[in-house]
Structures are given as structure tokens and as C-alpha cells.
């Protein structure tokens, strides 16, 4: 009786694993292809609606060919292309601001989130304030940021920091709360004190949430950076887009937007990659069906 149960069990495990491995391989094979189709479709829609059909709402927009021509030109009409140092100055300015803001928000948000998750008391003090401030968008902070900080750099960095700080803190706190209390009991049984539980259970146990928070946080950092750069600043992709509008350099707007998308995606992927490296122990969880 028990032998037959096991045989059927073993028979179930084998093919299931093989199928999932095969699916994975198939997905890897087709993913780049699907991605290209997605991009090509988007570009085609743009080209058709702006340049081919000249649809009413799209008539004023720069077309695909105009943008590409401007982007790869060695002598761009509106002054910004792949071959002008100006272009890279804008990218670098934005990256530096996001890097500073992201470092600050991680450095402050992760410890604060860990403490909020760990101490119920602290959570009761801070969390309501936190939840009241969180829905206020970065743009609403612009006047205060300008009043508080001098110059053009610091207000922009402050605004960029703000939203990503909320995301990091909140996700870290949720990460701590998501930890199965059995692990904490097990650590107590094995003689660990509070400090050791914090570093050996709480921190690694919430890593998954921390990193999904960081990926979210770098996304919203770009989001509020552009808003801030449109208001103040001399360089940066947000500034470039806004300047493109005021100076009617329409292709430049699109160049700025697409660059922003690519750079933002790259930074988010980088954070995700670091997270995966740090959580090697999770990589085999797929096969943990039993």
C-alpha cells in the first residue's frame, strides 16, 4: 500500500520537474523575440499615427524618422544627439542625483523600516505620521524644498529622495512583519539573543521585501527627479525635456524621454540583479514543491 503511494508520488515528481525546466527553456528562447515584437509594434504605431496617417492629435508631435535622424546626427539641428557631449552631461547629472538620493533613502529607509517592523512601540509612534506624509506627492514639496535648501542641487536631490525613502521604509517594514515567527522561536531555542536574532533572522528574512522595495524606490526616484528637474536645475534629463518644450525643440523631448526610460530601466535591473546575487538561497525554491 505505502509502496504504491510512493511510486505514484515519484512518478509525479519526475515529469513535473522536466516540464517546468522545459517551459523555462522555451520561455528564454522566446522572450527576446517577444520583446522585439513589442518594441517594433510600439514604434510602428508611432510612425503610422504621426507620419503616415497624420492623425489629428498627433499632428504636432515629432515623428519617428525625425527623432532618429536628430538622435544619430553628428550635427543635430536642436543641439542634442548621441555625438554631442551635452547629451551625456544631462544623463550624468541625472544619474548622480538619483545615485545620491537612492543611497540616502536606502541608508535611512532600510534601518528605519527594520526598526519599525521590529518594535511595535516605535511603529505606533512613527507609522501614523509616516502614512500621513506618504500620499503627498514630491511636487507638493517643491516650495518647501526650495525654502529649506540653498542652491539648485540640494532641493532636487531632496525631492528625489523623498518618495523613494517612503517606498524603501515601508517595504522593509513589511518584510520584517512577513517573517514566519517560527524562525524567531527556533533562534530563541538555539540560544540566540535579540541582537543575534536581528542580524541572523530579521535581516536576511526580510531581504526579499527589502529588494522589491529598492526596485520600487529607484523607479519612483526617477519619477520625482524629473519633476524636480523641470522646476529647477540647469542640467539633467528632466531639464532637457522641459527645455525642449520651451524652445520648441520637439525631437529633443522624445530623445530625453526615451533616454530616461532606458536609463531608469537599467538602474532598476541593476538593483534586481544585486538582490538576486544576495539571495542565492532562493534560486532553487522553484523545485521546493514537496
Amino acid at each position: 500500500m505505502s509502496a504504491s503511494v510512493d511510486e505514484s508520488g515519484a512518478a509525479n515528481v519526475g515529469p513535473a520537474r522536466r516540464y517546468s525546466a522545459e517551459n523555462l527553456r522555451r520561455a528564454l528562447r522566446t522572450r527576446p523575440a517577444l520583446m522585439l515584437v513589442g518594441f517594433a509594434g510600439t514604434l510602428a504605431a508611432w510612425y503610422i499615427s504621426v507620419e503616415l496617417l497624420k492623425l489629428p492629435r498627433f499632428r504636432e508631435l515629432p515623428g519617428l524618422t525625425a527623432v532618429v535622424r536628430e538622435w544619430i546626427s553628428t550635427d543635430p539641428v536642436y543641439g542634442v544627439s548621441l555625438f554631442t557631449p551635452e547629451y551625456y552631461k544631462h544623463i550624468a547629472a541625472s544619474i548622480v542625483r538619483v545615485a545620491i538620493a537612492f543611497t540616502l533613502s536606502t541608508g535611512l529607509g532600510v534601518p528605519l523600516g527594520l526598526l519599525l517592523g521590529w518594535s511595535k512601540r516605535l511603529r505606533e509612534y512613527i507609522f501614523p505620521v509616516f502614512e500621513t506624509l506618504r500620499p503627498i506627492p514630491a511636487l507638493a514639496w517643491v516650495p518647501l524644498a526650495i525654502l529649506m535648501f540653498r542652491g539648485t542641487e540640494t532641493p532636487v536631490i531632496f525631492l528625489t529622495f523623498l518618495a523613494s525613502f517612503y517606498a524603501t521604509t515601508l517595504n522593509t517594514m513589511l518584510g520584517v512583519q512577513s517573517i514566519d515567527p517560527t524562525y524567531i522561536r527556533a533562534a530563541q531555542c538555539l540560544g540566540a539573543g535579540d541582537r543575534q536574532i536581528f542580524f541572523h533572522v530579521i535581516l536576511p528574512g526580510s531581504l526579499k521585501y527589502i529588494f522589491s522595495g529598492l526596485q520600487l524606490s529607484i523607479g519612483v526616484a526617477w519619477f520625482s527627479l524629473v519633476a524636480a528637474e523641470m522646476i529647477s536645475g540647469e542640467y539633467g534629463l528632466g531639464y532637457l525635456i522641459n527645455a525642449g518644450y520651451t524652445m520648441t525643440a520637439y525631437p529633443t523631448i522624445i530623445i530625453g524621454m526615451v533616454t530616461l526610460g532606458v536609463v531608469g530601466y537599467a538602474t532598476s535591473a541593476l538593483v534586481g540583479w544585486i538582490g538576486k546575487r544576495l539571495m542565492a538561497w532562493r534560486s532553487d525554491e522553484m523545485s521546493d514543491a514537496n
Partner: protein, 281 residues
């Protein structure tokens, strides 16, 4: 081997008139009623009872996760908790092996095993690693040192968790239905592995289960608990000599003891069923 570490055997666990009353919205619930147990050092004591009878409450009180309302629990003459000091402090002298497994998924098997001795600062890293390899070999887990828990089977994880508990040289192992989620064949392999490890490391084991055959196969004694409130209803001395292996399962003595315990448990299960008790402590 282990016994040479100490002059006299450790792990004499005594529960004296333990009472546990839960506060709940619908009034107080008497979960454990004047429960007394005397478990000598090195015994494998199996606690069997209907679901929700309060067995786990008892184990959690010994571990120090729950308080008791009345009575005393002591280990080798040292009082762990009493009505004055209702909750014991969890510690490495009473290690729990949890129902769903609690190896830290972010640590390798080796780091899981050495965690206890290293945080307690009782062994150096090298000595702890050596002891870990010894226990892993006993558990049939050679070569798993650098794997993460998710990379080994659930049966292997259970054995690794018992090895992790034994790393602390505990007086008592508290097992809370550790094999509940395993299939029948894996479970029977686990039983023999547990008995082998106990023969090499003769600690006291308090083992909670509702599988009567498991209880009779593993235990020196089987204690059948009554339906809520929980208290010993029947004590079965399992006079089958150790070492035991699966051939025991076909002997008439084994079948007789199983039937005897089964009758007692069924009576209680019927009571708890008609009282509308549900699982969930």
C-alpha cells in the same frame, strides 16, 4: 558517547499539576487540567491525543513559548516555570523541532547546524563544524553541508533539523508532530533515523503526534491524553526492546499495544467530536 560528557544523565523532565486556562471572548477555556508527567532522562515519551486537545500547549509551555496558569515544570530539579514565574525562558537545553520545519532558508545546512553553538559561544567554529559533520553523517546527510534547505528533500530537512537541535547538546528534544506532512514511506525512514540518532545521542524526547502507530513504534512510553481539557488518560509502557526496526511492525505485541492505545484515543476523539471541538490551538 555523549553520556561521558556528564557525570549523571540529564533530561529528567517533571510536570507537576500543570493547568492552563486561556482567556477568550466566550469566557475562560480550560486547555490543560492538572497534568502530571514524570519523564526520566533519556526516555522517548510519546504524547498522543485527539486534535486540539492541548498537547501542543503543553509542549509550548516546556519550550517557554507559552505561560502556564498553575503547577510547575522542572528539568533535572531546576524549576522552569511555576505559578509565580508562569513562563519559562526558551533556551538550548530544550530545543524544539517544529511541525513545519524551521531550518533557516537563508543559511546553508552547515551554518544552520553551527548557529546554536556559535551564538551561545560554546564551541569554536572549527569544533562546531567538526561536530556538525559528525551529526550529519549520523543522519545520513554527508555532502549536504554547503546546500541550502530548499535544495534538499523534506525528509532530509527534518533530519538536518534534528541534527541542528542535537548540536546544542540539549537535555530535552521537543518534537511537535515533525513528520506530519511527510508521506508514509518517508515517515517510516524518518522513524528509523530518529531511533538511530537517539541511540547515539540519548537525550530525553518529548514527541507529540496523533499517529498511534508512530507513537508505539518510537516510544518507551505512550501517553494517551484525554480530549480537552488535556490530561493523561492512559499510559502504555511499550516493552518492545531497542534497537527497533521495521520488523517490529509485524509482531503481535506491537499490534496489541497499538490496539490498546487506539481504543483509548478513539474514545477521546469521539468525546471531542461530540463536543464540537475543532483543530486550532
Amino acid at each position: 558517547m555523549q553520556a561521558s560528557f556528564h557525570d549523571k544523565p540529564r533530561g529528567h523532565l517533571v510536570l507537576n499539576d500543570v493547568v492552563k486556562i486561556y482567556d477568550s471572548d466566550g469566557g475562560d477555556i480550560l486547555a490543560v487540567d492538572r497534568c502530571s508527567l514524570d519523564i526520566p532522562a533519556g526516555e522517548i515519551c510519546m504524547i498522543v491525543g485527539p486534535s486540539g486537545c492541548g498537547k501542543t500547549t503543553l509542549l509550548n509551555a516546556v519550550a517557554g513559548f507559552h505561560s502556564i496558569t498553575w503547577g510547575t515544570i522542572s528539568l533535572d530539579g531546576r524549576e522552569l516555570c511555576s505559578s509565580q514565574q508562569p513562563q519559562a525562558t526558551p533556551g538550548p537545553d530544550r530545543v524544539v523541532v517544529f511541525q513545519n520545519g524551521a531550518l533557516f532558508p537563508w543559511k546553508t545546512i552547515m551554518d544552520n547546524l553551527t548557529f546554536g553553538p556559535l551564538v551561545q559561544n560554546t564551541l569554536t567554529k572549527a569544533v562546531a563544524a567538526e561536530r556538525a559533520r559528525e551529526l550529519l553523517a549520523q543522519a545520513g546527510l554527508n555532502g549536504c553541508e554547503d546546500l541550502y534547505p530548499a535544495q534538499i528533500s523534506s525528509g532530509m530537512r527534518r533530519r538536518a533539523e534534528i541534527a541542528r537541535a542535537l548540536m546544542n547538546d540539549p537535555s530535552v528534544l521537543l518534537l511537535d508532530e515533525p513528520y506530519r506532512a511527510l508521506d508514509a514511506l518517508t515517515r517510516s525512514v524518518m522513524h528509523e533515523a530518529l531511533l538511530q540518532m537517539h541511540a547515539l545521542n540519548p537525550v530525553t524526547i518529548l514527541f507529540i503526534t496523533h499517529d498511534i502507530e508512530e507513537a508505539v513504534f518510537l516510544g518507551h512510553r505512550v501517553i494517551v491524553m484525554s480530549a480537552r481539557p488535556c490530561r493523561p488518560k492512559l499510559v502504555v509502557d511499550v516493552d518492545i526492546p531497542f534497537p527497533r526496526d521495521k520488523r517490529v511492525l509485524t509482531t503481535s505485541r506491537y499490534r496489541h499495544l497499538v490496539r490498546q492505545s487506539l481504543d483509548a484515543v478513539h474514545e477521546e476523539a469521539a468525546i471531542s467530536f461530540s463536543a464540537g471541538e475543532r483543530e486550532g490551538e
